[in-house]
Symmetry: C2
Subunit: 137 residues, 2 copies
Amino acid sequence: MSEIVDIDKRYVENALKQKMNVLRDNRYLMDDVFIPIAKALKMDVEEVIELFAKKLDFASCYELHAYAEQARMGCLGRKVDIDLGLCWICDFFGLITKEEADLIRKKVVESHLLYKKPYNEALEEGRQMIIKLLKEE
Amino acid sequence: MSEIVDIDKRYVENALKQKMNVLRDNRYLMDDVFIPIAKALKMDVEEVIELFAKKLDFASCYELHAYAEQARMGCLGRKVDIDLGLCWICDFFGLITKEEADLIRKKVVESHLLYKKPYNEALEEGRQMIIKLLKEE
């Protein structure tokens, strides 16, 4: 009986190791998911990978890349809101409209993720768009 | 006729100056609204104050303080999401629940704004809460 429990335990441990390998081998996931999360939480990257591996089955480990690209786009949009002060300027003080803010956010995210412009340059484009709108009489 | 136009113009200019004075004299608005927005947009603080003064009537200039406190709470919550990676961890990857994330965000915002804890310390409390949740089996 204790042998079966041992085999089971070993199976779970091996599966976890294999899932961690799948996740670790994906360069995109490493650079754009695990390392940023580890930095935000001040955790070890290996610990972060283990958390994901424990949470996900094998199929989900392979699908994580596609999903992460969507997540990256969504989360970057929120970062743009903070970095450009859109939260204040648009949502609370209405100095520019929601439609204008959506357009600017989208433009910055696309510039950076699709056209590979460095984030600060993409942000600068967005900043110029806001300033232009704000200065329109 | 041109005299009336001149008087009108002068009235508008004077009103603008007075509104700018009202806004500029409010220490809270300066420190927590105009300066952060000026930094985010890399604009001159005076320009930012002028934008608000142009947009607002006198009553709204006086009401801005109360409104700004709400805005500050809302926008800080979004910054916490970014700084703690809640956007990834909760919204996209579901490693913690939405209720847990709401609670952590609220705790950090209150610690900083109501209990005047330095932002990084408040953030650290939130970080510890997340790590505890993530490590629970």
